[in-house]
């Protein structure tokens, strides 16, 4: 018993070892397995592989090698249909076709009738073909195995024979078994066979896979070779899902016929291609809702038109003539009649008005409303918005009401060779000073245009800026020529005034002497040479780079200059009384961007520095930046501050004149875009007239009315007044500077055409 068990075990182990390489030779084992009690398990696991093999074999002709076990052909219903055919074929081809003849597997026996009888090998009893293995199963049913513990058998097979308990090893074997547990040991006992229920190699593999949470199907390859669908390699025959090219299209004959039919129809004119369908499909613009509902249908057997109703007669009216009204007798007669026999199904009745007809309110009235709805009749007359567009424009006063302002050119100051760069009217309002490209400073009589004084400062450099000191005492003119600033007292004034001015300027020489040896100042104050001194120049200040603009402080002690080329010391403040020059901004970062213009606030200690894009307001008392204005211009050319100090105008090279209300915002309150070319200079009137102007490269000066109200809630009133034309455009330059007369509404302009003009 024990020996038998071990042999069985071994043979099963062999079978298991050979299973993975299962081939056609293994069929020798099959009968044995079939006979074996374990075979059901085995065959279950191998069923897939063998099944597929089997299938192919059958389809290929069923003449495969099989073992010679006899089987009744009747027992294989699946083969019944194939075998007679096969038999026939084989019979026919026996003589000539040897290959078809199943030589090895098919036994040919002579039957009882004398005919040869083919005996086919037994079919592998796979899961779906047969259940013959049910015979081997235990038939005890679903009872605990413990009941058979005392018996040598564990149950009965289908034939009633005892199924013997497999030999259980001795205690030592059990111990040995328990010490070296066989592979796949579970410790369970097969209910049917009583043997130890161990897991096979495949089962173990499956369990391992489950543990690894892999797919248990062997046929699934979790790591297939990657197909490089998209690679750098250029394939000779690229994989493509492009549709079949039309050249491979084989036309269908049926379709050909149909097409030919259509072509024929077109040729004969029965079918009109490109039939203008627009008319048919176009929806009518208006619907005639009162038209007959249905269009007249074509005459057809199936179309029987509804009979036309006769028009209503008098007695159908709600108020028929009295002769149509039935009398009592007729009424009674009508009522007594059977409804089917009545001539008409109503009795004429009279009502005074349509609205008195019973049911009018609910019926006719509602119909009427519906008709109105259909007709889209408006019930409410809507008033059209009737606003005069002119009334929406802001009410600006007429320029005639805002007189006086300059309108015509009164005087032309001729004399400069080359452009006139700068113009400035003196505080008394009698003289006007100009500086030009010819390096001269000239002073003119305002009304007559007579040049009364001229000073040639330089032969090669232009006088870029001239400005009178804004105080009534001491007639001092500051002029910038190259990198020098000249403080001049023109000898056209009263001697007392002239001396006063010279004293103011000379007073600082003493301070300058004491300061010798200190660190280098941004500007050097020096006495001019004798020739210039005789002409009235009292002091020259030399800075590093060309000075483009000079602005005086209102008290006349400080003047600030701009040299845009000097990166570090672009803005310089000079003090007249002590002959001291300073740069208020030590670091370059403080005034980022090239300063264009500077201006002192007319009343507060503020300094306005206009760089290319921004205007920075520095508090000189606290030495800090108090505000930055962003006019939004690309390149600011000039600024001017309203004499009251709360408003600022900015001219820019991108043609814009911007009005800033300093209390309002850092953005401009108003943008005036009237010039055709860049604005060169802007100026406020400082003598009480609410005027300001801008001059441009388009050769014009534009005058505006800019009134500021003392009421803070009211915004400034800005009215364009006049375009002053007269300056000629020379080399794309027009009017380079403007200045107002200190008291009169008169305007001075400096043109690139070599003239300065007075406008009044």
């Amino acid at each position: 018993m024990t020996a038998k068990a071990t042999t069985r075990k071994r043979s099963r182990a062999e079978a298991e070892a050979e299973k993975p390489v299962l081939s056609s030779e293994d069929e020798f084992e099959i009968p044995e397995i079939n006979g074996d009690e374990d075979s059901s398990d085995d065959s279950d696991f191998t069923a897939g592989d063998e099944d597929s093999d089997e299938e192919e074999e059958f389809s290929s002709g069923a003449e495969d090698e099989e073992d010679e076990e006899e089987i009744d052909s009747d027992e294989i219903p699946s083969e019944d249909e194939a075998s007679p055919k096969e038999n026939g074929a084989v019979n026919d081809d026996t003589s000539d076709d040897e290959e078809v003849e199943p030589a090895d597997n098919v036994k040919v026996v002579t039957g009882a009738d004398g005919n040869p009888r083919y005996i086919y090998p037994e079919i592998e009893p796979v899961y779906d073909s047969d259940d013959t293995d049910a015979e081997e199963t235990n038939t005890i049913g679903n009872i605990p195995l413990e009941y058979y513990e005392s018996y040598p058998h564990i149950g009965y097979d289908i034939n009633g024979k005892r199924i013997m308990r497999p030999a259980a090893g001795k205690a030592l074997d059990t111990l040995l078994d328990s010490i070296e547990l066989p592979k796949g040991w579970t410790g369970l006992v097969d209910k049917n066979s009583g043997a130890a229920l161990n897991l096979t190699e495949e089962e173990l593999e499956i369990v391992k896979k489950l543990q690894r949470s892999e797919i248990t199907d062997e046929s699934f390859d979790p790591y297939p070779d990657m197909v490089e669908w998209f690679s750098s390699k250029v394939e000779q025959m690229p994989l493509s899902s492009a549709p079949e090219p039309k050249r491979r299209f084989v036309p269908s004959k049926h379709e050909q016929k149909r097409i030919m039919k259509i072509v024929k129809g077109i040729r004969e004119g029965r079918i009109l291609p490109h039939k203008p369908q627009a008319e048919a499909s176009q929806e009518p613009e208006f619907y005639d809702i009162w038209a007959d509902d249905a269009p007249p249908k074509p005459d057809h057997v199936m179309n029987i038109p509804a009979p036309k109703l006769p028009p209503p007669t008098h007695d159908e009216s709600y108020n028929p003539p009295p002769e149509y009204l039935p009398n009592e007798k007729e009424k009674k007669e009508w009522e007594e009649q059977d409804p089917e026999d009545r001539e008409k199904n109503y009795l004429p009745r009279t009502h005074k008005a349509l609205r008195l007809v019973p049911g009018f309110n609910g019926f006719i009235g509602e119909r009427f409303e519906r008709c109105l709805d259909l007709y889209l009749a408006p019930r409410v007359r809507r008033n059209k918005l009737n606003i005069d567009p002119a009334s929406l424009l802001p009410k600006l006063p007429s320029p005639d009401d805002l007189k006086p302002f300059p309108t015509t050119c009164a005087t032309v100051y001729r004399g400069h060779e080359g452009r006139v760069r700068s113009v400035s009217a003196d505080p008394t309002g009698v003289w006007v000073a100009t500086g030009g490209d010819d390096g001269t400073i000239r002073v003119w009589e305002i009304l007559t245009g007579r040049q009364v004084w001229k000073l040639k400062v330089s032969s090669d450099e232009a006088v870029d800026s001239v400005t009178w000191r804004p105080t009534p005492e001491g007639r001092i003119l500051a002029a910038a020529c190259g990198n020098e600033i000249l403080l001049v007292v023109p000898p056209i004034f009263d001697i007392e005034e002239e001396n006063q001015g010279k004293e103011i300027l000379s007073a600082g020489y003493g301070y300058a002497a004491n300061r010798q040896g200190k660190k280098e100042a941004p500007g050097t104050w020096s006495k001019p040479d004798a020739a210039l001194e005789e002409d009235g120049v009292v002091v020259t200040i030399t800075v590093r780079k060309t000075v483009k603009y000079i602005a005086w402080h209102r008290r006349g002690d400080y003047l600030v200059t701009v040299s845009p080329e000097d990166v570090r010391r672009a803005v310089c403040v000079h003090r007249v009384s002590t002959h001291l020059s300073q740069t208020p901004f030590k670091e370059k970062s403080v005034t980022k961007g090239i300063p264009q213009r500077v201006q002192f606030h007319p009343s507060k200690p503020l300094l306005f520095v206009a760089t290319k894009r921004y205007i920075k307001i520095y508090d000189l008392a606290k030495a800090e930046l108090s505000k930055t204005l962003k006019p939004g211009a690309r390149w600011i050319s000039s600024i001017d501050i309203h004499p009251q100090g709360d408003n600022l105008i900015v001219g820019s090279y991108d043609k814009r004149l911007l009005w800033h209300d300093l209390d309002l915002s850092t953005k401009p309150y108003r943008t005036l875009r009237y010039h055709d070319k860049g604005i060169r200079a802007v100026s406020f009137h400082r003598g009480g007239f609410p005027l300001f102007c801008s001059s441009s490269d388009d050769g014009t000066v534009q005058v505006f009315h800019g009134r500021i109200y003392s009421d803070l809630m009211e915004n400034a009133l800005i009215v364009p007044l006049k375009v002053l034309k007269g300056h000629k455009i020379t080399a794309h330059l027009g009017v380079l500077d403007v200045d107002w007369h200190p008291k009169q509404p008169w305007l001075f302009s400096a043109g690139a055409d070599g003239t300065a003009r007075l406008w009044n």
Partner: protein, 464 residues
């Protein structure tokens, strides 16, 4: 009179009734309605008036209808004015102002700022001109420079005036703030060399450009106005003036050193009037009442001064800076030239309610010089920076609706426009006398003389 009406006029022409009147008492005719043909022009009417006056020599007349000179036929006038010929027409006739024709011009070497015709006491009239080169010249009517001042003025001479005393003399002033008195004795031989005139006295007070001088013969006083907002009162009787010492410049310019100026007596003013708040452009003394002076200034005001008390009597504020003034005493008017390119007429009397009575428009630039006509009390001439001299008649003003800054609603146009013969250039000064005619000077460095003369021009005028 019906006969007169029909004098050589075709009877077919429509007629209109006119009422002829005049303000000239010597030419008045009895008031009577006349019926005249409507196709009559100025010449026909003038013939009619001469006929009525029975003048031995025909006097050219002009006719004013509703403040406008009749320049067309009556018919056309009626059509333009939209009047009916049924209504009688009021026509005022005035002595015709002859168009001044160009007589000649004399060139100098610099801009000429002012011109004065010698007073009638001179045997032969001469012209005193102040030049921008700092000298004053005396030119005869033939164009010869009779006399010239020595370079006393360091800067331009802006204004000059004659001083009529026992010895003829004149005053000059200008940009260098000093007034100089020069005595001039007409040379016996006009064709001799140019006389060099020496200054006698300097009058120093002003701090800025002196803009005008005016002399009163009866009081021997003169006034100067300056751009330093002041008016100074002086006397040619230098003994009444305080002597002063003028401060010297600490640094003489080369120019000053080069021009060795003669030393003169320096005198201060009798009084300084400071009612103005802006540069005073001109001051005049009333022609008949020499204790009254009028001044105009850039501060837009006309101020009447009493010279005895040196006080401002009244102030009239106009709407524009004023550059010049002249008085028309017989019609009680002051004409002031303004920066707004027009001349305003004012009644300076206290009784006058209005600031200005009329506006004369036509100039295209500031009016800087005004002078009354020597022949008619209603006519004045103006010189302007627009380069023209215009002649105006103060009677020729009418109310017009287009007037928007005159205020008083009356405006008028000029009678004649005299352009510069040289073409362009500002006119700085004008003067007008019966003998010499209308003299104007200006930027073109020329003295231009125009004179209205001869009856021949009347027909010419009709065609214009």
């Amino acid at each position: 009179m019906a006969d007169t009406m029909d004098i050589d006029q075709p009877s077919s022409s429509p007629r209109i009734q006119i009422n002829l009147s005049t303000r000239d008492t010597t030419l008045s005719i009895p008031l009577q309605p006349l019926r005249v043909p409507t196709n009559l022009k100025r010449y026909g009417l003038s013939t009619l008036v001469n006929h009525l006056l029975e003048t031995p020599n025909p006097i050219p007349f002009d006719f004013l209808v509703d403040g406008k000179y009749l320049r067309t036929s009556i018919d056309e006038y009626l059509t333009q004015a939209g009047l009916s010929s049924e209504k009688p027409l009021d026509v005022e006739y005035v002595r015709s102002q002859l168009p001044p024709t160009y007589v000649g011009s004399f060139e100098q070497d610099d801009w000429i700022a002012s011109v004065n015709i010698s007073p009638s006491s001179f045997s032969s009239p001469v012209l005193l001109t102040g030049s921008y080169n700092g000298t004053a010249q005396i030119t005869s009517l033939s164009g010869d420079v009779i006399a010239k001042t020595v370079p006393m003025h360091t800067q331009s001479v802006k204004t000059t005036t004659w001083v009529s005393g026992e010895t003829p003399s004149f005053l000059t002033a200008g940009l260098d703030r000093a007034i100089n008195l020069w005595s001039y004795t007409p040379p016996s031989d006009p064709s001799s060399q140019t006389l060099e005139i020496q200054p006698t006295t300097s009058f120093i007070s002003h701090k800025s450009t002196i803009t005008s001088l005016t002399y009163s013969s009866s009081t021997s006083q003169f006034l100067s106005s300056s751009a330093d907002h002041t008016i100074a009162l002086w006397s040619t009787d230098t003994s009444s003036l305080p002597t002063i010492t003028a401060p010297q410049s600490t640094a003489f310019t080369r120019k000053r050193r080069r021009t060795k100026a003669p030393t003169t007596i320096k005198k201060g003013p009798l009084a300084v009037l400071t009612p103005h708040t802006a540069p005073v452009s001109q001051v005049i003394i009333h022609p008949t009442d020499q204790t009254v002076a009028y001044s105009v200034s850039w501060d837009k005001s006309i101020i009447t001064h009493d010279l005895i008390t040196s006080l401002a009597v009244s102030t009239r504020t106009t709407q524009h800076p004023l550059f010049s003034i002249t008085a028309l005493p017989s019609v009680n008017l002051l004409a002031a030239g303004s920066a707004a390119r027009h001349i305003t007429l004012h009644d300076p009397r206290e009784s006058s309610k209005t600031v200005q009575t009329a506006v004369l428009r036509g100039h295209t630039n500031g009016v800087v010089s005004l002078v009354g006509s020597p022949e008619s009390e209603y006519v004045l001439a103006s010189g302007s920076h627009d380069g023209t001299v215009r002649i105006w008649d103060v009677r020729s003003v009418s109310s017009s609706s287009s007037d928007n800054d005159g205020g008083e609603g009356k405006s008028g146009g000029s009678l004649f426009v005299i352009k510069r013969e040289s073409g362009t250039g500002k006119v700085f000064g004008v003067d007008w006398s019966r003998e010499v005619g209308l003299v104007s000077v200006g930027e073109d460095k020329k003295i231009q003389v125009n004179k209205g003369e001869g009856m021949a021009d009347v027909t010419v005028m009709d065609q214009t």
